[in-house]
């Protein structure tokens, strides 16, 4: 069963993203939104651990922070967010 994990907390303020990455299965995906898009500013192994995952990023949150969507991730708008939530069997939000 595949899960879409939704994270909105900055990886610089708590450990949610790290915990999520440890749990992320090969069929799962990660959607970064809100301050979680600052994960793109991570360095070294913290960043490389993201690059080999299925990563989606909410485009409007990139835009307001003046960040570019990297080639290893996919930018999504709200209609695409809805479609992602249907494509994966469950949606787990890291509240």
């Amino acid at each position: 069963m595949s899960t879409l994990h939704v994270v909105s907390h900055s990886p610089f303020s708590d450990t949610r993203l790290g915990s999520c990455l440890r749990l992320l299965g090969s069929e799962d995906a990660l959607l970064l939104c809100g301050d979680a898009v600052y994960a793109l500013q991570l360095q070294g192994s913290a960043l490389t651990s993201l690059e080999d995952k299925n990563v989606f990023i909410l485009e409007e949150d990139l835009l307001v922070r003046n960040l570019e969507c990297p080639i290893w991730a996919t930018g999504v708008d709200y209609p695409a967010f809805v479609e992602l939530s249907i494509h994966y069997d469950k949606v787990n939000t890291w509240l």
């Binding site: 909105s8 939104c33 249907i86």
Partner: protein, 130 residues
């Protein structure tokens, strides 16, 4: 596809706006929202006493309009609402409080309504935090 949406954050949190945009996109995509459940600080979205600064988006008002326009089931957790001072006419009278700040289209009900929505929906999507 049937969605149940649970919101855990107040209207001034970015996640509340995200939930609203998601809900709008779901309906625009031809999907159904079986229920919107407002829990924990999410109950503040239902308060009719919120005054948003003029240069900010009034997300609480946008929720009210969205729920009215689409005749959705906007359920507010009664226990979470009472402890945060979000009361309808019945509860204000029951506990002898001076203010009523929860009115239609919002409804106060129990956590069972979230459970029921999850059972009848294909997907549960939660929004909360920042």
């Amino acid at each position: 596809m049937k969605f149940a949406i649970a919101l855990y954050s107040a209207a001034h949190a970015p996640s509340s706006r995200r939930a609203l945009r998601f809900a709008e996109a779901a309906l625009a995509g031809g999907h159904e929202i079986v229920r919107l459940f407002f829990y924990q600080d999410g109950v503040h979205s239902a308060s009719s006493n919120i005054v948003t600064p003029q240069d900010e988006q009034d997300i609480a008002q946008q929720w009210t309009t969205f729920i009215s326009q689409h005749q959705l089931d906007g359920v507010v957790c009664i226990a979470a609402a009472l402890r945060r001072g979000v009361l309808n006419e019945d509860e204000a009278a029951r506990y002898q409080r001076p203010g009523v700040n929860l009115k239609a289209p919002w409804e106060l009900s129990g956590l069972g309504q979230l459970h029921d929505a999850i059972q009848s929906a294909d997907r549960l999507i939660c929004f909360g935090g920042p």
